[in-house]
Amino acid sequence: MNEFARFVSLTVYGLADGAILALAALGFVLIYKATRVINFAQGEFLLVGAYTFYTAFVLLRLPLVLAVLVGVAFAILLGVLVERFVLRPLVGEHAISVIMVTIGLSSVLKAGVQMFFGTAVREQPKILPTGSMEVAGVTVPVNRLLVILIAAIVLAAFTVFFRRSRHGVAMRAVADDQQASLTMGISVRTIFALAWALAAVSALIAGVLLADLSAVDQNIASFGLIVFPVVILGGLDSVPGTIVGGLTIGLLKQYVSGYADPGLAEVVPYVVLVAILMVRPYGIFGETRIERV
């Protein structure tokens, strides 16, 4: 029974980590799908999101709902500004330039947070209840379950948005074929801005959840790198892939760290990444592209 309890609790922790990873990866995939940009600053978007919420909620003492709204507004603004002034001038440039500009951006964003808030850990009251409850005879923390629930709701909302709303359909059209979308009267610029704004919002949610589970500090940004195994596993341009990839990597990390070695858990996602790239270079759900001269 003890062994079972351990398994259940590792699973819950893994799913909670995976849910946050899926949210972070969702933003990443949104950007890649619409604009073919690999965003190395995704972790810093989480970081900025968490600190914006902290500023609104703790420093300005706004009520929770209002603080979330401030966070969302700031995330949208940040996403749109980054797209307009950093990425748009590089449309059509070589992949290395695009990667490096997002790396430069990550450095600037991190430095910004460091300047305003320093490197010390910030105290933030827990938003989610911290108690624990019984599931199948095993005690598990409530906040992890809630994180899974919130992430599921957000991911479902995004899925509905893509399938039903005008802008969601337009985004899928642009991802499919930019020129054809332009001839149909879709503004590709608006879609690009929308993709970055939505990515920043999903990063904000991931960042706030992550900060609530751990702490408000610079380490949040390091979550950005584990997004890569997730998106490679699921496919760089697949939204359902982020959920599968996120949960797989989240569970894998918890199991390895619980049953084998916490240090090993840090590197296992990357080993999986290399293995997948060798076998299925375009991920489980990714689209294979054929290139011609």
């Binding site: 690999i38 001038p89 590089l90 490096m100 450095s107 300047m115 790198l225 990357y270 990444l273 001269v293």
Partner: protein, 348 residues
């Protein structure tokens, strides 16, 4: 022949020359003189920075061979530097190999490891390859941190000072050791792109499918490019091991990979001279910011306090600015300046 309308070659041999005009030879002479008098002009602190630059130049040239000339994006630079540093340090401290031999073996080992981690490049391109090399960086770092054998469970390797280096003249002596090595490495890289191998690298970069159609063996070219590039990087890592006299994993993190990528972006992708300019620029930047911070410590303590954050911000802003304003880097700016003088008073 150099005329106001440009440089016109009259034979293939003339076109292949490294330097075509008298002005180029003159500038080359100036640079040589400058490099020879540097140790007499700089104090120990700045000479130390000059030595770090010389080591970084070798690494940046290596990375540019891979990224700028072959078009294979690599985020694994830090890992390959680590392979070079650890191999040479272990060989000379524990296996008792003479230092020059240890460096040569380190270069070969790093080239081998580079070729191994270059294998994904056979199936992957562009963004996917960047992520694969990110994984190789993380995996090498994990091995280096956790494999107790490497450091005999101490977490670091202490490398004894080279026999002939005196404490008082440490930086000056190192300068004379590093200068010829770096010079030869740069010259070798420059010559590489006058050979068939170097040209096949560039063919793969420009359009790999077309390169294959005209008879370039892509598999061999890509793996060779990873090996050659990693060889240079391994040399840089090995030199840094002896120069800094300690080897710890903290000096080879992903940030280092990013720093080297920044060097070649700022200097100019696909340009050997650009790698040199970029390495100088990116190594001088933090040192100059520290200087500025010290100067304004009394007047504006705020800036001095925020120096680490400011360094990060300036680093990022430098990358973004170059990519947005001059994607071909300092090398392109320099050649535009030369053109401006040559064609004056005409615009072109």
């Amino acid at each position: 022949m150099a005329t106001a309308t440009g440089i016109h070659h009259r034979s293939y041999r003339a076109e292949l020359r490294l330097r075509h005009t008298k002005a180029e030879w003159f500038r080359f002479g100036l640079v040589v003189v400058l490099l020879l008098v540097v140790p007499y002009l700089l104090n120990t602190y700045w000479l130390g920075i000059a030595n770090s630059i010389l080591i970084a130049v070798v690494g940046a040239v290596g990375l540019n061979i891979l990224v700028g000339f072959t078009g294979q994006i690599s985020l694994g630079q830090g890992g390959f530097l680590a392979v070079g540093a650890y191999t040479s340090a272990i060989l000379s401290t524990r296996a008792g190999l003479p230092v020059p031999l240890a460096v040569v073996v380190a270069v070969l080992v790093t080239a081998g490891v580079g070729a191994l981690f270059g294998l994904p490049a056979l199936r992957l391109k562009g963004l996917y390859l960047a992520i694969a090399t990110l994984a190789s960086q993380e995996i090498i770092m994990f091995v280096v941190r956790r494999w107790g054998f490497l450091t005999e469970d101490r977490g670091y390797i202490e490398v004894p000072r080279l026999g002939f280096i005196e404490r008082e003249t440490f930086e000056v002596q190192w300068y004379w050791v590093l200068l010829p090595i770096t010079f030869l490495a740069v010259l070798m890289a420059r010559n590489l792109f006058r050979t068939a191998l170097g040209r096949s690298f560039m063919a793969v970069r420009d359009q790999d499918i077309a390169a294959e159609a005209i008879g370039v063996n892509i598999t061999r070219t890509k793996v060779t490019a990873f090996a050659v590039s990693s060889g240079f990087v391994g040399l840089s890592g090995a030199l840094s091991a002896y120069y800094t006299e300690t080897v710890t994993w903290e000096r080879f993190t992903l940030d280092v990979s990013v720093l080297y990528l920044a060097m070649i972006i700022v200097g100019g992708l696909g340009s050997i001279a650009g790698s040199v300019y970029g390495a100088i620029f990116m190594m001088l930047l933090p040192a100059l910011l520290t200087e500025v911070g010290d100067k304004v410590r009394d007047g504006a303590p705020f800036i001095a306090e925020q120096l680490p954050a400011i360094k990060n911000a300036v680093f990022g802003i430098a990358i973004i600015t170059f990519l947005l304003i001059e994607p071909r880097g300092l090398d392109r700016i320099w050649s535009r300046m030369k053109d401006y003088v040559r064609f004056w008073p005409f615009r072109y």
